[in-house]
Symmetry: D2
Subunit: 225 residues, 4 copies
């Protein structure tokens, strides 16, 4: 299985403060290590927006089974050509694991056909708890009920996505919000999983159950299960 | 449109304390008034378990468009014959609006094919907030975002139901729980809406937005929209 | 209820042979009459690609409840600006009834996020039969089982769309094909119905049950039911 | 992976004519060989209604991952106790692959909550063609488009099931019928796949692509993918 892990933070150069400390080589590098540890047999390539062809040339996409996409500040800097390439490959069978604000990436929005708007708020005081609502789903395998994520940025409904083909996780936030935080979609031959956790200033990718979910998601999206 | 509003509280005789004060003639009577006020053109029949044939004889079912079912303590006292009659009529086109602990009624469980187990807790300190996740759904028409229900019993995931055909509302509770609180199902020719609010010791059916949702749900289930 | 009925055939000027005889003023005019007859209380505007702003200026879209879209040869002539306007309005609540090869229109493809490719074949010898698989759906109200459409162009699976939120009709064709011919989608606040019948060289819009389905679909998409 | 393959034909004793020739030891034995060949690492137990506890004692169910169920003439001879046991185990995580007229078994009907009625006809002249509508589904892995099954009994819509969680296959029949012939459902922690092919008088379980689908389905239902 070949997995591309991509972020738009210029290999960490765009990160400051706690994010820079948590992801010294960028979020993609953090996630690349995570995927490699969860799936030791996988071949993992770390890529980013600052590389040629936005880090996602045709050749790389052609041999990949799954693309893990983390983006935040630079969605509009991804070229339309890159978005075209990725969108086509996903419908052709490339799995897509879209993390955190990847909901706002060109590729995800095009594949959804909706604005992907949501409510959000960050005040440093909120806590997120994640509930599994589809325990038979491959992505929920071994995941305890609930995941107490601790402090995190708040995402809230309404989240303008199509009704997910499978809704796996719903999150609770201290401030009164709920959010469909783990959603599966199929588009063409491609499997897509959106998973909300991942704000760069919180150590969410160190949480063992978040790591488990992401490993499961990559396996599922790769069509290995 | 002919609507039957049914409860299992013996016309209020089984209620005590705040429930008896809120529903002096039983929960079905409270809901009958609610439905009549929301849908002035509807013909409403209030019925209950303590009546002959569990209050749901064939003739009454045959001319009804929608059955609103509220139950709590007496699910097992509903006879299998009654459950058979109602289940058949729902699949034949009778709309079913199942409120609060009606998730545990024989009829609802049979139509779902699952245990309908959920987590619950009542400590008098919890608050429920209801978010719309499908704003285009007829049942969400005119419903503000969110509904702040105030104090209520806590229901939580995992809720063992089939994935709803349409998920309209998700609830948040103070204690860290989330719950799929507004769920549509189609079974045969019958439309079914499960709506969680309705614990008898809270004035939830006085809340204008809960009343709006229930009126919308009866219209939708009647196949009038 | 205000309904726009739109086609891309320049008011019939682009049609030849049997299509020109069946739709002397264009397919939109045929459909406009159909909608007006099925829904006498509706206000119907007939529009087309050959008009200013592709026949779909903001003002017209703003006051419409439903847009019926029929297109065939000129999908690429619809400007990106028009597609943007319509796409946004649909997500904002405008109902969309996409007929026949409207599956290939810019607007529909963007809202789906997929290629919307399908198999097709026209040999003048095929017959289509339409089965209802969701009899409780508003769009199936009063529709007999099956609709024998007679001769029609063949559309076949695989049809690259997202899994419909509700699948209402499946078609059978003489040559061995099946097709998901009646599909509901919700995107944002907009309801979308794709209905396959409508090749311009067959009198399908004269068929009473096709007329019934389209009337039902416009009502449903308008959020009147 | 432990798979139980079950039929209600008394080990073939209830079969006559071509069915007896095709399944000398009963349909369960035929299917047991099929599953063993498709999944060489699986441990397969062949069982039947004529055995103690209807062939499905608690101990056997407890250690199984998947139950393949083929039934035809004897649905009502399965005891309510057995149906209770199996239904509970499925919701607890046992995969269920329900073949052909297993749609009418007690267990399947209870898990669906509907009548599971369908149209059917056998005239020895019909042919079935199976189309994949969800090519990304694990059960469709490697399955060519379409499967030409040749002669088979005709099943037709309306098929009174809940809308499948995933619709994988739709069948075409010579006589004008279509049928949702490959349907996935999740109930509790159990994955359920209904697959229509399997009339005992046709050699459908010799067809390589039907064998492939059943192997894939057992893997999927076992939660191995």
């Amino acid at each position: 299985m070949h997995v591309i892990v991509w972020s738009d933070d210029a290999g960490g150069a765009a990160l400051v403060g706690p994010a820079a400390r948590l992801h010294p080589d960028g979020v993609a590098a953090t996630l690349g290590t995570l995927v490699q540890q969860q799936l030791p047999a996988a071949s993992v390539t770390v890529a980013g927006l600052h590389e040629p062809e936005d880090g996602l040339p045709d050749g790389l996409l052609a041999r990949a089974d799954v693309l893990v996409w983390w983006g935040h500040e630079a969605h509009e800097q991804v070229s339309d050509l890159t978005a075209d390439r990725v969108e086509r490959r996903v419908r052709d069978g490339l799995g897509l694991v879209a993390l955190h604000s990847a909901h706002y990436s060109k590729v995800f929005r095009r594949l959804m056909g909706t604005s992907c708007d949501l409510q959000w708020r960050e005040n440093g005081e909120d806590r997120e708890v994640i509930w599994t609502v589809d325990p038979a789903h491959p992505i929920a395998t071994g995941v305890p009920q609930p995941i107490d994520l601790g402090g995190h940025e708040t995402y809230g409904e309404p989240f303008e996505i199509p009704a997910p083909d499978q809704l796996v996780f719903i999150s609770w936030f201290t401030g009164g919000e709920v959010f469909r935080s783990g959603c599966c979609f199929v588009r063409g031959s491609g499997r897509i999983f959106y998973f909300a956790p991942g704000h760069e200033t919180y150590p969410v990718y160190e949480h063992p159950h978040i790591r488990l979910v992401i490993g499961n998601a990559v396996s599922w999206a790769s069509r290995a299960r």
